[in-house]
């Protein structure tokens, strides 16, 4: 598939593409292990997690083997047809940025699986958990590897669903269920919006291949709408303001899930999407840069402030994740090449330290059976190794040298400084956010591990702990070593980060990570951030009072709840208005539509005929007045019987009009039909109450009257206009002319019935005869079956449907009514 490369890369590196079936095989391995885990879990217990770790481990090994070529700008691709008709193909592509994401998803995945193995006590559903986690890892891998927007969407939704099941894994706990639903609703809604965006984008570009769209982004209004929809998906997934509420709630998940979800997967999917699109769309879509960057900065601040308020250390870290995601979005979203580079570094750093931090929270929770920082005390002594790991990870998060977090943040500040005045506001926001990061980082370390002052000034007694095993700490240690190593020797991380950033934006080439840039403005800003952060932490009591005194802005969860409630209430109200269950009202709706739709069309029609005569004889006026009077009386009558009689009066009046017009046979037919109708009515009325039930309100009566009048006018106008619209000569002339010579009769109607349309008449008579036979036999058979049932009832009462009523007889009589 030549030419399937990020556009500018083709210029810089005309490299041959390498194809590999291993990509699909690795995704398949995830699927197979996910399917097998529930079965294996029954035999292996928690060890099944180690088996499942094989999938990410194999991915890491494969990615390492391919890393050299990929970082040199030779992506690995694989395309298999799926739905050719719709332009969907299983296209996968491993370029530099995907490699970085794979390093995160699978590279952090392995330690998380190992951690989970020690985290869980044996429980019956451990296999299900392992399967879900593996499926989740596989889906996430699909998101970062695929080169087709629709496959990306498929994998994206799979991460939503699997994470939903993982967050709600403890499904007996109501908060876990609520949090899971909230996460699914918000990310799922965003995902659907994103799908619409993808479709618009794909239609505008003429392809759904991700790399082709990025290489040659379409332009126009459509792309603007598409970008907004795609951003809706990315923002919800990456918990950006105002969609950030689900992420803190999601920490109801078992800690290994949180460690994975908050560091390497799920939330990074949105960042991934923004990172991919920013270089292509930021220049094309005017509002992209200001919107994305400001959302990122605001999220960073909101998350940081919220983290400072928390007492649950896990919740604190969750809000911290929101803040860090804002930072990432701000850096990536700008589409500035240096910022992109810094963001890639930060992505790696954040994955490493945040996974570590959640792991330490899990260990603390297990050991001390609480996560409340007001109850934790003295753990720095009792859980020293854990404390050391946590301090290093926090230092990296706070951006202290010599850790990777520092290197990445410096690069970010440098990048923003180089952008000059346009980035000043962003820079201020990010320095403020960094200060908050320092403050909540310190709060976490202090809250989880410090010895706190007790009531009377004496230190609080150390919280009793159960010592954790070494194995549960090992994964956190491994990740911490990476944080230290990559921070102290940035050259180790440099190729990966540079390769990733270059594949996003070829202009990045030549930027490098460094631990020490010399005494620069960026360093000064870092020092400022740390100083302010420490001050915030030291003055935490004052800070808490200040936050309490500020007018409380509504939190994300409240917005979510309010939206939910408002939707429900609106729907409730609308339902009670339009879906009352009342047949008259339904009819009104239908009739009003009739007035509006064809009525307006009719107004634009040929108009009323010119030769319209009000009446041809005074008698007509009299009869017409009678008819109108009878109709009004029928409508106003309170008694059913009177109404029916008035209705009959209308019919007889019309028959008289026929007579006046000179059509006695028609009048006769009308008389017969009317009489029959009245008789049938009367028969039915025996079973109904004498009076109509009182119509409820004046307003509804008036509206009914209005609708009826309108429809009456419409039908009358319709008849006149339709009659006037005739252009061809009527067929009746020929009937009249041919009745005597061809049919041999003077009564035209008779000739039509028995001669011109003789076959039709015969058919109708046959149908009537068959129907009559059928009804007769049904009535007879029904009577024989009912004799037992009817004996007990008054024959005048409608027989209630009882068990004795044979279904056959009763159902058939219903069918018989229809036939008649």
């Amino acid at each position: 598939m030549p030419g399937r490369l990020v556009g500018d890369l083709v210029l810089t590196a005309p490299a041959p593409l390498r194809r590999s079936a291993a990509l699909l095989a690795l995704l398949g391995l995830h699927a197979v292990l996910a399917g097998a885990a529930p079965v294996l879990g029954r035999r292996l217990g928690p060890r099944v997690l180690l088996v499942c770790a094989l999938a990410p481990a194999a991915t890491v090994a494969w990615a390492l083997a391919r890393a050299g070529g990929v970082l040199d700008g030779r992506p690995v691709t694989e395309v298999r047809p799926w739905v050719g008709e719709l332009g969907v193909e299983l296209a996968f592509r491993l370029d530099g940025f995907s490699l970085l994401m794979v390093a995160l998803v699978s590279g952090i995945g392995v330690p998380v699986f190992v951690y989970a193995w020690r985290y869980f006590a044996p429980r019956p559903d451990i296999g299900r958990f392992a399967g879900l986690l593996t499926a989740f890892a596989g889906a996430m891998l699909g998101v970062v590897l695929t080169d087709n927007l629709l496959v990306l969407y498929v994998c994206w939704e799979l991460t939503s669903i699997t994470s939903y099941l993982l967050i709600g894994f403890d499904d007996t706990k109501a908060p876990a269920r609520a949090a899971a639903l909230q996460a699914l609703l918000i990310t799922g809604a965003g995902g659907l919006a994103m799908l619409a965006g993808f479709v618009l984008l794909g239609q505008a570009a003429g392809t759904y291949t991700f790399s082709e769209i990025l290489a040659d982004p379409p332009t126009g209004t459509t792309v603007g709408i598409a970008a907004a929809l795609v951003l809706a998906g990315a923002f919800t997934k990456s918990a950006q303001v105002p969609f950030h509420s689900w992420l803190p709630g999601a920490m109801a998940a078992p800690t290994p899930v949180s460690a994975y979800l908050h560091s390497a997967t799920m939330v990074k999917a949105g960042v991934y999407l923004i990172a991919r699109f920013a270089p292509a769309l930021a220049p094309v879509v005017g509002w992209w840069r200001p919107v994305v960057v400001s959302v990122g900065v605001v999220t960073m601040l909101v998350g940081g402030l919220a983290a400072l308020r928390q007492h649950d250390v896990k919740l604190l870290l969750a809000h911290g994740t929101v803040s860090q995601l804002g930072f990432l979005v701000a850096l990536f979203g700008a589409g500035w090449e240096e910022a992109t580079f810094a963001a890639a570094a930060l992505l790696l750093a954040h994955g490493l330290f945040k996974a570590t931090l959640f792991m330490t929270v899990g260990i603390v929770d297990h050991a001390a059976h609480t996560r409340d920082l007001r109850q934790l005390s003295g753990l720095h002594a009792t859980l020293r190794p854990v404390a050391v790991v946590a301090v290093i990870a926090t230092a990296s998060m706070a951006g202290l040298p010599p850790f990777l977090g520092f290197v990445a943040k410096e690069a970010g500040l440098e990048a923003l400084l180089h952008e000059g005045s346009s980035a000043t506001l962003v820079l201020v926001g990010i320095v403020a956010g960094s200060a908050l990061t320092v403050a909540y980082g310190a709060r976490y370390v202090w809250g989880a591990f410090a010895t706190k002052p007790g009531r009377a000034g004496a230190p609080m007694a150390a919280t009793p702990v159960e010592p954790p095993g070494a194995a549960i700490l090992a994964p956190a240690v491994v990740l911490t070593v990476a944080t230290v190593l990559l921070g102290a020797v940035p050259a180790l991380a440099d190729p990966l980060v540079e390769g990733a950033a270059t594949s996003l934006d070829p202009r990045v080439e030549g930027v490098h990570l460094a631990l020490w840039h010399g005494i620069t403005v960026a360093l000064g800003l870092s020092v400022l951030a740390v100083t302010v952060g420490v001050a915030l932490f030291v003055g935490r009591d004052r800070m808490a009072r200040l936050q309490a005194a500020l007018p409380r802005t509504s939190s994300g969860t409240e917005v979510y709840q309010a939206t939910l409630t408002a939707t429900l209430r609106l729907a409730d109200r609308v339902t009670s208005v339009v879906q009352s269950g009342s047949l008259p009202r339904y009819l009104q709706v239908a009739l009003v539509t009739l007035l509006v739709l064809p009525g307006t069309a009719l107004l634009s029609g040929p108009g009323l005929p010119d030769d319209l005569a009000i009446a041809e004889s005074p008698l007509q006026v009299v009869v017409a007045a009678l008819v109108v009077g009878a109709a009004l009386a029928a409508a106003r009558s309170r008694r059913r019987f009177a109404a029916v009689l008035c209705l009959g009066g209308v019919g007889y009046g019309v028959a008289v009009l026929f007579v006046i017009q000179g059509a006695p046979d028609l009048a006769l037919t009308q008389l017969l039909v009317e009489t029959l109708a009245v008789v049938i009515f009367v028969l039915v009325l025996r079973h109904l109450p004498e009076r109509f039930s009182e119509t409820s309100r004046r307003l509804s009566r008036l509206s009914r009257a209005a609708v009826s009048a309108g429809v009456g006018t419409f039908v009358a106008a319709f008849a006149l206009i339709a009659g006037a619209a005739r252009q061809e000569p009527a067929v009746s002339g020929e009937h009249l002319a041919r009745a005597l010579p061809d049919g041999g009769g003077r009564n035209v109607v008779n000739v039509i019935l028995v001669d011109f349309r003789g076959l039709d008449t015969m058919g109708e008579i046959t149908v009537l005869a068959v129907a009559a036979l059928g009804i007769a036999s049904l009535v007879l058979s029904g009577r024989s079956e009912r004799t037992a049932g009817l004996a007990a009832h008054d024959p005048d009462e409608p027989a209630p449907a009882t068990e004795a009523d044979g279904p056959v007889g009763a159902v058939s009589s219903a069918g018989g009514d229809r036939l008649g």
Partner: protein, 514 residues
């Protein structure tokens, strides 16, 4: 005497005997014949047949109709022979006809399997429901193959009258009787509107034959379009009733809720599909060159239908009503595809209808089972903890609901994608975006049911203690469910099969018969 004979002889020459191509209407004949045979045989035999006989007979009849359709498919897809009209141009036999024959026959078969145990459970055992279903389905096929507005009307009436009776079939449920009356009254109105519309279109164009109407409209410019426009509007009102487009949807929730659950399944799948078939035949085929007149109306209808269906579904507590509203929302999606007025749009609508038929049949099959004896346990709370009690049933329902929500790897995803893609291709971006927004709203509803089934550990014990009836999965319903799940997933994973089928089934308009 001799003169009469002479006249008769002369008239014998005048009488044009219609050429009937029996092969063309075999699927129809199989269904009608099956229905009549079923009624006759059950009337003639005095002994009660073995359980499941009626359902089996119905399924075999449907299989016969499908086989006949497949034979027709080969003929119409053969470039040498191709599509043709039958019965003096009254019917068109093309891929479209075959597509809907298959869709309707499949729906009848699956609904009949669900009805089998339902009727026994509710003490309603008898051949009537099956016979009516077959007849109603035959009416649906007539609508799909109609090449004449009068034939559309005939088909609609055959379809509807059987449905009115079926809706009121449950004798001991007042809701069932009430729903039948409501459906009948409103349906009669809609039929009247349709007839008015046909009359106006006839008045404007001088024909009821779709081919001739199209030919007339392409060759003549109307002096005044009022009659034609009013005719369009009335036709849309009439067909809008049957597809349950807002604001003609008012009957849907009440009727879906009140009708026996297997009948609702049939209504939501076959009857809705047939109405869309007629809509596409009439508007896409015949009125295509007046698209600028009717597309705006469809646009408004589609938006209203999607929004009202999605928003009102959310507040329902009764699962049957929820699914009724969601079916309105799905009708809106199909209208989006109709609105595109392109081949891709029509193919999208066909894909959507077929995919939806399976999910909705499956959903109502589950509802039938959970409804238990009396067909009344339809509150959301009745689904609480179903996953523990009946994991397979809950899983199947989850698949159907996820598919309705448009989650990937289920049929619903590609259905939505196809439709949205068609709308985007036709540059109706606003419509595409509104469609997705309503999909988001209705996703909430489906998730709510799923959550109730799975995550309800706390209260489940309490309910179990009160001795609630256990949900049983009888054989017929099991087969039906398995088939629906299999199709839903198959279309979701390999949509190419159905996509090709739908693409080749876009209706053609053959030139007017000589």
């Amino acid at each position: 005497m001799t003169s009469t004979a002479a006249v008769l002889a002369q008239q014998g020459d005048l009488l044009v005997k219609p050429e009937v191509e029996w092969v063309a209407i075999t699927p129809l004949l199989v269904l009608v014949g099956g229905s009549l045979l079923l009624l006759t045989l059950s009337a003639l035999t005095t002994r009660r047949p073995r359980r499941g006989t009626y359902a089996l007979f119905t399924v075999l009849t449907c299989a016969g109709a499908i086989i006949a359709s497949v034979a027709l498919w080969d003929r119409v897809q053969d470039p040498a022979r191709g599509e043709f009209t039958a019965l003096v141009g009254a019917l068109t036999i093309d891929g479209f006809t075959v597509f809907f024959s298959v869709l309707i026959a499949l729906s009848i078969a699956l609904a009949a399997l669900v009805a089998d145990d339902y009727l026994r459970r509710e003490d309603l055992e008898g051949p009537e429901l099956y016979a009516l279903m077959l007849l109603s389905g035959a009416g649906g096929i007539v609508m799909a193959m109609a090449n004449d507005l009068i034939v559309v009307f005939l088909g609609l009436e055959i379809l509807s009258i059987a449905l009115y009776v079926m809706a009121g079939m449950h004798l001991r449920r007042v809701e069932s009787q009430e729903s039948a009356i409501k459906y009948f009254v409103l349906g009669a109105f809609s039929s009247a509107f349709l007839l008015y519309g046909i009359a106006l279109v006839y008045g404007a164009t001088g024909s009821t034959n779709l081919s001739e109407i199209a030919a007339f409209l392409s060759q003549n410019v109307l002096e005044s379009e009022g009659l034609l426009l009013a005719g369009f509007a009335l036709l849309l009102v009439g067909l809008g009733f049957k597809v349950a487009a807002v604001p003609f949807h008012v009957w849907t929730p009440d009727v879906y809720q009140g009708a026996p659950s297997p009948v609702t399944a049939f209504m939501a799948s076959a009857s809705k599909a047939a109405a869309f078939a007629a809509l596409l035949r009439v508007f896409f085929s015949a009125f295509s060159n007046h698209a600028s007149d009717w597309r705006p109306i469809i646009w408004v209808l589609a938006v209203l239908t999607m929004v009202v269906g999605a928003v009102l579904a959310v507040v329902q507590r009764d699962v049957k009503r929820m699914l009724a509203y969601s079916s309105i929302n799905h009708a809106g999606f199909s209208l989006v595809a109709v609105h595109a007025n392109t081949e891709r749009g029509v193919a999208g609508a066909l894909f959507y209808l077929l995919a939806y038929a399976f999910m909705v049949l499956g959903s109502f099959a589950v509802v039938t089972l959970v409804g238990r004896r009396g067909d009344a346990a339809h509150d959301v709370d009745d689904y609480r903890g179903l996953a523990r009690e009946r994991p397979v049933l809950a899983l199947a329902f989850t698949v159907f609901l996820l598919s309705q929500a448009g989650v990937p790897l289920t049929a619903g995803f590609f259905a939505k994608f196809y439709v949205i893609g068609a709308a985007a291709e036709a540059e109706s971006y606003a419509l595409a975006v509104i469609a997705m927004v309503t999909a988001v709203i209705s996703a909430f509803l489906y998730l709510r049911i799923i959550v109730t089934m799975y995550f309800a550990g706390d209260e489940a014990e309490g309910d179990a203690a009160t001795g609630r009836h256990r949900v049983a999965i009888p054989f017929g319903a099991g087969v039906s469910l398995a088939a629906a799940v299999a199709f839903t997933l198959l279309i979701g994973i390999l949509p190419g099969l159905v996509a090709d089928f739908a693409r080749d089934a876009v209706p053609v308009l053959l030139s007017a018969a000589p």
